[in-house]
């Protein structure tokens, strides 16, 4: 513990003014000022070098990487949109337009996928990455290397998606990927479509790592005095966004894994006439609806910040605003069937979801009014950020009103599949993007230390706003145009032409932005800490750009305002004079850093590692390989194409790269530290890595839950007892596996106890026992599956076989992953690690017990019932 031996000094609270703060404890090199300070192996190269961007783990760098990369995808997705608008210039016969039907379908699908996944959320998270640690008073995120992993996984997933275009064409079934169009039997773009699905799965991996990271950070690294309800609205919005991401994306991953399996293993989920098609819609929309709020919430957070700053007033009804966001986040998981009003669902369920849908629109009403009332008695400056946020609110109001039409089921009956839906969601989603661009203009000076040309910013806004409305408003007028077709009613032509012109104007406006922001990097006016009057959050109290570790001391809100302490004193020891606010009873948690993870004895934190890049490269190559697989027996598949041996070979290389990088990252000395005093409710006393593991397990619950739910749904649809052909007659192999797994859980627990008692032989023996039991489980399964295959029960034989093999197969993959980690732990224990310190074994145990619990449900569901 770094401060134990030094005498503690009380500091005055001080103001946020950097000059008045107490002495700086560490040398904090400003970026761009040559090489960093010491000879530590994790010295961060300077901003000018290419290498820096490959090894950095600093949240500000990662934020910039996200922003730049997402803007690239904006151009990619936007170009596809312009191609579509050219096609839609007039009604086209099948071969009459610039794009043929297959190309048009690909453009439509890729445009949606790229914009929703690879542009808008990463753009928001670029801002979040940069700002959230600053706003909450942290030096970085909880797991800096994982943060870099998230970014590289994102970049590689986008690359994988791009490559899919060249593998026979990319996915051509719409961004909603409805079944069974999404399986090879109906999708002509064979390997390309598989690759696109895998690219999205890789993206989900990036998102999951990111959500675990942000959640752990926001629950453990808030500055003293910064309670949850006191967070700046932008950070609150990000917190709720990552909660939704943690759960929603796991459901999408389940859908994507099942779809990938239908592609490469020949399982029959989505081709099954017993509800395969509906299964996809349930899984996808259970994810899909929270997703639109995941996209929108950061924009809401930006709007709140920008409105406050540029009106010079605090947000009206702030606590109701935040309560509304919480309500929406919760409700977002119970509205999904409003995308399915025209499917074969019954009237009762339609009524329920109509009610919940209207319910979720109400908190938005409150938030809209809150923003509007914030303007009253303000001193409003129409800077570029404010113009964009104000414009975003206008667009969102229009989009929201048109959404109420869709919530009325009788209207939805007619509007389904038409441009009313298209216009509605573009108004709300791109309305959200509008706010995010405002956020970029707002925080650009903070990130670069330069101010851009305000006039050009306003020119961008005018072109943008006119182009936007010219593009999307006509879609309401000609709402009866069916979606994803290019031969609409000729009477609609003038409106579609106006939309095309608007699209080009909107696209052109971005040229202004790119020029402005790029040139200003060099020639822009220098700014100080805070170029915006009335900005209040912590990022404006440090230099522009901030120093590497963000703050000139330890941030604290102890006195009610931000101050930087050069040392930390528990609240009870601070002398108070009459002027300071009384410290609340449940004030900052004074938590002794527990275990070896919370702090370190080295003077400096680490900021660089190449292994995140390595891991992501490995995953990328592995997924390339998986895309090249094809099922060995093509029963119901029409010309699925052959496997691609080159791709599969590349996949093998990828696994090696992945394994080496994971091992190297585990062995690498990398130091992070946490402030000794921080707000940690409600997870005080849960150590950082443990909290991260639990968050991850939370998303794994959804993953397995969705798989099990899929089985339940399909079996229920077919007729649980009568319609489902149960082919596992003998439950004994399953029971054997249950015994093996239960015993392995027991032995892991014993290993943990042995580590606490510093009993090395005990630790090694229990870990090895666990390993052997796990291997036994797999061998038993191998024998069992061989028998089943021999009897003709292969994964592609039918829906009963598909659900059995894929669900238990996913579980087996989890077991294999656990065994790899176990081997590493046993090897380390052999070398004398884990004496008196049982945390790694405990945390591994958490994962292993979870895998055991899943089996406790799989076993009866698949072997007995």
């Amino acid at each position: 513990m770094s401060d134990n031996d030094q005498p503690r000094t009380a500091t005055d609270g001080g103001t946020a003014d950097a000059e008045a703060s107490a002495e700086v404890t560490e040398e904090l090199p400003a970026p761009g000022v040559g090489e960093t300070e010491d000879h530590e192996e994790h010295a961060l190269p300077s901003l000018g070098s290419v290498k820096r961007w490959f090894v950095t783990t600093n949240h500000k760098d990662v934020g910039i990487l996200y922003i730049v990369t997402s803007l690239f995808f904006l151009v990619f997705g936007g170009t596809l949109a312009l191609l579509m608008r050219i096609q839609l210039w007039q009604p086209r016969a099948a071969a009459g337009g610039p794009l043929d039907a297959l190309a048009y379908n690909q453009a439509v699908s890729a445009h949606g996928l790229i914009m929703v996944f690879w542009f808008i959320s990463p753009f928001a998270f670029g801002l979040a990455n940069y700002l959230v640690p600053l706003q909450i008073g942290a030096k970085d995120l909880s797991f800096p290397r994982l943060n870099a992993v998230s970014y590289w996984l994102y970049l590689f997933s986008g690359l994988l998606f791009g490559i899919s275009f060249f593998q026979g064409g990319t996915f051509a079934g719409g961004w909603t990927m409805y079944a069974p169009l999404n399986v090879p039997k109906y999708m002509p773009t064979a390997i390309g479509s598989t690759m696109a699905v895998l690219a999205l799965a890789l993206f989900v991996a990036s998102v999951t790592v990111s959500s675990v990271n942000f959640l752990t950070t926001m629950y453990r690294m808030r500055a003293e005095g910064l309670k949850m309800r006191k967070l700046p609205v932008f950070s609150s919005s990000i917190l709720l966004t990552v909660w939704m991401m943690l759960f929603a994306f796991a459901a999408l991953l389940a859908a994507l894994l099942i779809l990938t399996s239908d592609h490469v293993l020949g399982t029959q989920y989505f081709l099954s006439p017993e509800g395969g098609s509906l299964l996809w819609t349930h899984l996808f929309w259970f994810f899909g609806h929270p997703e639109v709020y995941i996209v929108f919430f950061p924009a809401l957070g930006v709007m709140a910040e920008v409105f406050q700053t540029f009106t010079g007033r605090r947000l009206v009804g702030r606590k109701w605003f935040i309560a509304s966001m919480v309500l929406v986040a919760l409700q977002s998981f119970i509205v999904w069937m409003h995308h399915m009003f025209l499917t074969a669902i019954n009237l009762e369920v339609k009524t329920l979801f109509m009610a919940t849908t209207i319910g979720i629109s109400l908190p938005f009403d409150l938030m809209v009014f809150s923003l509007i009332y914030t303007m009253i008695k303000g001193r409003i400056r129409f800077t570029t950020p404010f113009l964009f946020s104000f414009g975003a609110l206008v667009l969102f109001i229009i989009g929201g009103i048109t959404g109420v039409f869709l919530g009325a089921v009788v209207l939805d009956y007619e509007m389904r599949g038409t441009y009313w839906v298209v216009a509605h969601f573009h108004y709300v989603m791109v309305g959200g993007a509008t706010a995010l661009f405002g956020g970029l203009y707002y925080w650009y000076p903070k990130m670069t230390g330069k101010m851009y040309d305000q006039l050009l910013g306003k020119v961008h806004f005018v072109m943008y706003f006119v182009g936007f409305n010219l593009l999307y408003f006509p879609m309401f007028v000609v709402w009866e145009t069916p979606r994803r077709v290019f031969n609409y009613n000729p009477a609609f032509t003038p409106w579609h032409q106006a939309a095309t012109i608007g699209g080009f104007l909107l696209g052109a406006s971005f040229l202004v932005m790119f020029y402005n922001l790029f040139v200003s990097l060099r020639t822009g006016e220098d700014v100080g800490d805070n170029p915006w009057a009335y900005a209040t959050s912590a990022e404006w109290a440090v230099s522009s750009p901030p120093p590497l570790e963000n703050f000139p001391g330890i941030p604290s809100y102890r006195g009610g305002t931000l101050s930087f302490l050069d040392d930390v004193v528990p609240a009870s020891e601070v002398e108070t004079d009459g002027g300071q606010e009384a410290i609340e009873a449940d004030g900052g948690e004074v938590v002794e850093p527990d275990g070896v993870y919370a702090t370190h004895d080295h003077g400096h934190d680490s900021h660089a590692s190449i292994w995140p890049f390595g891991i992501s490269l490995g995953m990328f190559l592995t997924f390339l390989g998986i895309a090249g697989l094809r099922p060995p027996d093509s029963t119901d598949l029409v010309a699925p194409g052959a496997a691609d041996p080159v791709l599969v070979g590349v996949g093998g290389v990828g696994l090696v790269v992945l394994g080496v990088s994971l091992f190297a990252m585990a062995r690498e000395p990398f130091y992070t530290s946490e402030a000794p005093i921080a707000e940690r409710w409600p997870y005080a006393h849960v150590e950082k890595v443990k909290l991260g593991v639990w968050m991850f397990l939370g998303s794994d619950v959804i993953l397995f839950g969705a798989f099990i739910g899929s089985y339940v749904f399909m079996r229920f649809n077919a007729g649980w007892v009568e319609g489902w052909h149960v082919f596992i007659e003998n439950p004994i192999p399953g029971l054997m596996n249950t015994y093996l797994l239960l015993t392995s859980s027991f032995s892991v627990v014993l290993a943990m106890v042995a580590a606490r008692k510093r009993n090395t032989p005990g630790v090694i023996a229990s870990l090895l026992t666990t390993f052997m039991l796990g291997v036994g489980f797999l061998i038993n399964k191998y024998i069992e599956w061989s028998h089943l295959f021999h009897e003709g029960h292969t994964p592609s034989a039918g829906i009963e076989e598909s659900t059995f093999f894929l669900t238990t197969g996913l579980h087996a993959l989890h077991v294999i992953s656990g065994l790899v980690i176990l081997l590493y732990l046993a090897w380390r224990a052999w070398g004398g690690a884990y004496l008196g310190e049982d945390e790694p074994i405990e945390y591994f145990g958490l994962y292993w017990h979870f895998v055991d619990i899943v089996w406790l449900f799989l076993f009866p569901l698949f072997y007995i019932l």
Partner: protein, 90 residues
């Protein structure tokens, strides 16, 4: 009681419950007439086992409630999804 003893007792209970679940099938409870009873009994046994592993092996009983709520939240989500989806096609 010491940790090790508690863990051992739980292990034995888990072992026995797993065996009972298979015994339910061999006892013929899963014939069409009594199927739902058998299903309910078997799933309740699994639930108890899961709670024991989560509460003691994963130590959730002694951790801040927030962690339990985190897992229960995820569980609630997938149960809502499965139930609503199944109900919607009745």
């Amino acid at each position: 009681m010491s940790d090790t003893k508690l863990y051992t007792i739980i292990y034995v209970v888990l072992f026995v419950f797993a065996t009972v679940q298979v015994a339910v099938e061999f006892a013929g409870v899963l014939e069409p007439e009594t199927y739902m009873i058998g299903l309910t009994a078997i799933m309740i046994l699994s639930l108890i086992k899961a709670v024991l592993v989560a509460g003691y092996y994963q130590h959730l009983r002694f951790e801040p409630r927030g962690l339990t709520y985190l897992m229960l939240g995820g569980l609630a989500g997938v149960i809502a999804l499965t139930t609503a989806a199944a109900y919607s096609i009745t």
